[in-house]
């Protein structure tokens, strides 16, 4: 398995706040990588460093063998990003179908219309995530869980090589959390993607996740296998309080 993402000595800052400090990371193709850490650890920043949305002060990021800075526009089409859930105005004049269609827009390109195949792909993505019956509904009328499914469908339509998920199970009830976790697992297996899944709750990571990194205050303090990471000392150091992983 070749390397698909290579981050070398990357520092990302927002004004006077340094969110990621001299971080290096290599991700092999087809990996399901979990990123764990407390609030403010730099988890979201790590994802935005990979897709070019973050402000990289120093270091380099290579994705699919290409330098991100020089090929940002092209690489963004190959990297799907599911951001943290956010409030959508219930009056927004965008339907579920339109919100998902956006995922295809970048792929199709400027000055080009979507074709029949694209519309079929949109319908397939909607059905796969289980919101096909809601496609004509305003996006702002959906529940948080349904909106998260829409975001995943949109990401799928890019036909990406890499999928970045930023706390996709946050603000969801246990039932919706389980649905999202299973959906992501199915997508990962069926599409042979490289997935980076950010969360601060270990048990939200699907079974497919075999590798983890721990982020704390902008630095990677652990990178390795999932099972090996479940040590009391390591978890306690990460969250700065006594934590013990029970049987998962």
């Amino acid at each position: 398995m070749g390397t698909i993402i290579e981050i070398k000595n990357v520092t990302v800052s927002y004004r006077e706040c340094v969110a990621l400090k001299d971080v290096s990371l290599t991700v092999k193709k087809g990996t399901f990588l979990g990123v764990i850490g407390p609030n403010g650890a730099g988890k979201t920043t790590l994802l935005t460093a990979i897709n070019g949305l973050g402000k990289i002060v120093s270091g380099t990021v290579n994705v699919l063998g290409l330098n991100l800075k020089e090929n940002e526009h092209q690489l963004r089409k190959e990297i799907a990003y599911v951001p943290q859930s956010y409030n959508i105005d219930p009056r927004l004049p965008i339907s579920v179908h339109d919100a998902v269609k956006i995922g295809r827009t970048g792929r199709v390109g400027l000055c080009r219309k979507l074709k029949t195949n694209d519309y079929r792909a949109i319908d397939r993505a909607l059905d796969l995530v289980g919101v096909g019956n809601l496609k004509n509904r305003p996006i702002g009328h959906l529940s948080s869980g349904e909106q998260q499914k829409v975001a995943i469908a949109r990401a799928l339509l890019q036909e990406p090589k890499v999928m970045l998920l930023d706390e996709p199970t946050s603000n969801l009830d246990p039932g919706a959390q389980q649905e999202i976790i299973e959906l992501i697992q199915t997508i990962y297996r069926n599409n042979k993607l490289t997935v980076i899944f950010v969360t601060h709750i270990l048990r939200h990571l699907p079974d497919s996740c075999k590798e983890l990194i721990f982020l704390r205050r902008g630095k990677i303090i652990y990178a390795g296998g999932f099972k090996e990471s479940l040590k009391k000392e390591l978890l306690s150091h990460l969250y700065h309080c006594s934590i013990e992983a029970l049987a998962l």
Binding site: R15, N51, L53, H73, Q74, R76, K77, I79, Y81, P83, P90, R91, L92, P93, I94, S95, D98, A99, K101, I102, G103, T105, G106, R107, V108, L110, C111, L114, P138, I139, H141, R154, Q158
Partner: protein, 276 residues
Amino acid sequence: MVDIFQYGFMQRAIVASLLGGMSCGIIGVWIIMMRIPFVGVAMSHAAFAGAIFGLLFKINPLGMALVFCIGSSALIGPLTERADVDPTVSVGIIFSIVLGLAFLGMSLIEGPKTEALNLMWGSILTVSTNDLKLLFLTTAVLLLGLSIFFKEIQAVLFNREIARAIGIPEKTIFYSLLFFSGVVVTFNLNSIGGILIFSLIINPPSAAYQLTYKLKTMFILSAVFGVLSCFLGLLFSCLFDVPSGAVIIIVSSVLFGICLGFSPKRKVSLGKKQSQ
């Protein structure tokens, strides 16, 4: 009454109403959806300030209005991003600068300030053929751009971060729409007036927003409401000999009030509050 429509000035006024209402209505959807309504205020005052300085230095007022408007729109984006300032704050800063310049220019004009005051209130009945040509060109480019780039514009209006993440040139689209906002405001300055034009940019799309959950429909409705406001303003202006710009704004505000009253979205939000 019917005879009046045979006169050239009235025919030009009708065409200006159609093109002005349409262009302001369309660009207004963008401004409302991006939640930067104050951009309309800043742009209209920038155009007004530019025209004042054009009068002061005896340079084409419309040309100077365009320079000031485009200059302001060129500042808003970078000020937001490089200075890391909230868009509404950056627009407010630009507004305060151009307002100061406008009144400075007014105070420096010697003698009667009639021409300057006409720019404040506008006069759709004195629109020239040249004004119409510019308006027609602007509206045509706007409609063409909207039809070609609709899917990208829709993505940017939904969420700028997501649009950027997908590979859409979000910044180019955002800056282009700011630029077109400036152009539309400038070329409607003579007919609607610098003080009043921002209302024609805000009211029709706000009214349309109340009635539909589809973006395409919102653009169409906003254009229709813009044109309707201008036509009715022109009609009442002729019937009752009142300033057309002011009546256009009042009509557009009444239209918004009617749409708000009948808004299906208002019922949805009330229902959600009650269920909470």
